[in-house]
């Protein structure tokens, strides 16, 4: 699977937590929106409020640590971010990002990435290509079953497909509703 970053690469440090990515006070059915993420990030650095579709985040260690709130990953996806690259991810955020179809890549030498796209990322081979500077970054390929979830747009779409396949094998009365 191929991911194109066309815009800016926003640099963040270590331990970016879920209270920054999505402050708790916005976590209601009526109050949740992608703008909540911008408010949390802007409290750390007002410039981050300018994040736009096509951009990416480049972070240090333990990105997304803290809460299980999927809103944190969802808001970044809904802001149009194409990719999060980090030295490491907190595990719940990592799964949440994949489950909402937001590509995540672990890379050690994040400091060598450029400040602006275009970047072409291939999750299956674990390569990030910076054509402008003729550089290729190599990282761990993502397992196929996770790429499958991201490429379908997230776990919901994947689940629809899985359940349809399972229903084909189950008696009809088990799936009424």
């Amino acid at each position: 699977m191929r991911v194109e970053v066309t815009g800016r690469l926003w640099r963040l440090g270590d331990n970016v937590d879920t209270d920054i990515l999505f402050p708790g006070r916005f976590m209601t059915l009526g109050g949740a929106s992608k703008d909540a993420a911008l408010q949390g990030l802007a409290a750390v650095d007002p410039e981050l409020a300018a994040m736009a579709p096509g951009d990416a985040i480049v972070a240090g260690r333990n990105f997304g640590c803290g809460s299980s709130r999927e809103y944190a990953a969802l808001a970044l996806r809904d802001l149009g971010l194409r990719l999060i690259v980090a030295r490491s991810f907190a595990r719940i955020f990592y799964r949440n990002a994949i489950n909402v179809g937001l590509p995540v890549v672990t890379l050690d030498d994040v400091d060598d990435l450029p400040d602006h796209g275009p970047l072409t990322v291939r999750l299956d081979t674990g390569t990030i290509v910076d054509r402008a500077h003729r550089r290729v970054f190599r990282t761990q390929p993502m397992p196929d079953f996770l790429i499958d979830i991201i490429s379908k747009g997230g776990l919901m779409a994947h689940l629809h497909a899985t359940l349809a396949a399972e229903q084909g094998r189950r008696p009809a009365e088990a799936v009424t509703r």
Binding site: D17, A43, S68, R69, R91, E166
Partner: protein, 423 residues
């Protein structure tokens, strides 16, 4: 598992679920025994689940609480609570904890958890059930939709870290200080993707209430789960006499081992804005005034926590510039506070006692901080904005340290006061 020696607790539990021996790094799919959600992330989860048009895989394995918006502070919170109650009724869910206290505490008290269970919840502190011998971890809403539909979830079998405890706490030191010590040693990503497993000779002296703290904050170290070895105290807590539980094998292949003498620990405190920013409480002496002190949450709201706080607060008054907020960890804890006379001790000292629930821990209501204020809290996180205001500061410490600081109005080592009391 044939004639192989038992692996780590995580391997044993996931292996039993998979029906064969499993190795770290393997991806396995396992049946879920308990799926927990609450009013913050539950309504979103249920709405997405209903898009699938299938039945809940097993309503008796779902546990739903209203514990954060308790009682609701805004119309939007109230709506989440209402939708939660509707969803529970609509899907035939019987196991609930509405306005009873933080879900992890009420689940632990419910008797639903068994050693060897796989427990998942849409809350990162779901890992607390690890103190009861369950492989327990937090997941996101969409992942829970999948569990609701299929009753299964994938895991990468984690490497494990063995934390072996020995010795006895000095007065004024508690399980919270163990976790803060581990955070100072390993950092907030020191156990990422790993299973943190607690055993050793001192475990027998540690009540289940205190073990729950160790598991609860495993996620602050990045761990997937925090398992505690099962013994007679665990079974007594669960109200069962016999259970074929996986037992910790100290000779299993642990990726890392930490040997900890509890007698060598002192009261510790995590300064803003990271649980890993830990120093001895004594280092803060006279330097940090506090305006709010909080004893509650799934981390610091159990009866042992209030006994420790009361030992400091008895015969003393909270500093006039400090709000001491108490949210009992459950109704059961609340009743025990009354029965033991501790509620009087807390009230006499000037505490504000609120409903059992998550309280001000997550900054949702019931104790949001003003700009520039400092809070000292027995809860689990001090991220920027955690208590509802990014311009405020949160310090994390044990209930005894929080109580001592509430009395003096600045971060204070509780041993000073305990020494006075014993004279």
């Amino acid at each position: 598992m044939g004639d192989q020696a038992p692996g780590t607790l995580a391997q044993q539990i996931l292996g039993a679920k998979t029906g064969r021996a499993v190795q770290p790094g393997e991806i396995v799919e396992v049946d879920v025994d308990i799926a927990l959600t609450h009013e913050v992330l539950g309504p979103l989860t249920f709405r997405r689940f209903e898009e699938l048009g299938v039945e809940l895989w097993d309503p008796d394995k779902v546990y739903v609480t209203i514990d954060h918006f308790v009682p609701a502070a805004t119309a939007q919170q109230a709506e989440n609570n209402r939708v939660t109650e509707q969803m529970v009724a609509r899907h035939g869910i019987r196991h609930t904890g509405f306005y009873d206290g933080p879900s992890h505490q009420t689940l632990a008290e419910s008797g639903l958890v068994r050693p060897g269970h796989v427990v998942v919840g849409t809350d990162s502190h779901t890992c607390m059930a690890g103190a009861l011998g369950a492989f327990a971890t937090g997941i996101g809403s969409t992942e829970m939709v999948s569990v609701f539909a299929r009753g299964r979830i994938w895991f990468r079998v984690p490497e494990a870290v063995l934390v072996s405890v020995r010795g006895r706490f000095a007065p004024g030191v508690a399980a919270k200080d163990v976790v803060l010590h581990l955070l100072s040693r390993l950092g907030t990503d020191g156990a990422t993707y790993r299973s943190l497993e607690f055993g050793g000779p001192a475990l027998a002296d540690l009540p289940v209430d205190e073990r729950l703290v160790l598991s609860n904050m495993a996620v602050e170290l990045g761990a997937k789960t925090g398992l505690v070895d099962v013994d007679a105290a665990t079974l007594a807590y669960l109200g069962i006499t016999d259970h074929a539980s996986p037992r910790l094998n100290p000779d299993a292949r642990y990726a890392d081992r930490i040997d900890l003498d509890l007698g060598g620990l002192e009261p510790l405190c995590a300064a803003p804005h990271s649980p890993g920013n830990v120093r001895p409480v004594a280092d803060f002496a006279g330097t940090v005034p506090v305006q709010q002190a909080f004893i509650g949450s799934c981390t610091g709201g159990r009866i042992t926590d209030y006994r420790a706080a009361a030992a400091v607060l008895a015969g003393r008054r909270v500093h006039p510039a400090v709000r001491l907020i108490v949210t009992p960890g459950s109704r059961k804890v609340y009743r025990q506070l009354v029965a033991e006379g501790l509620l009087d001790t807390l009230l006499d000292a000037g505490a504000i006692v609120e409903a059992p629930g998550c309280g001000p821990c997550a900054g949702l209501q019931a104790g949001v901080l003003a700009d520039g204020e400092n809070a000292i809290s027995a809860s689990n996180r001090n991220f920027q904005g955690r208590m509802g205001n990014p311009k405020a500061n949160v310090y994390l410490a044990s209930p005894a340290t929080v109580a001592a600081s509430a009395v003096t109005g600045e971060i204070t080592d509780p041993r000073e006061m305990l020494a006075c009391a014993s004279k």
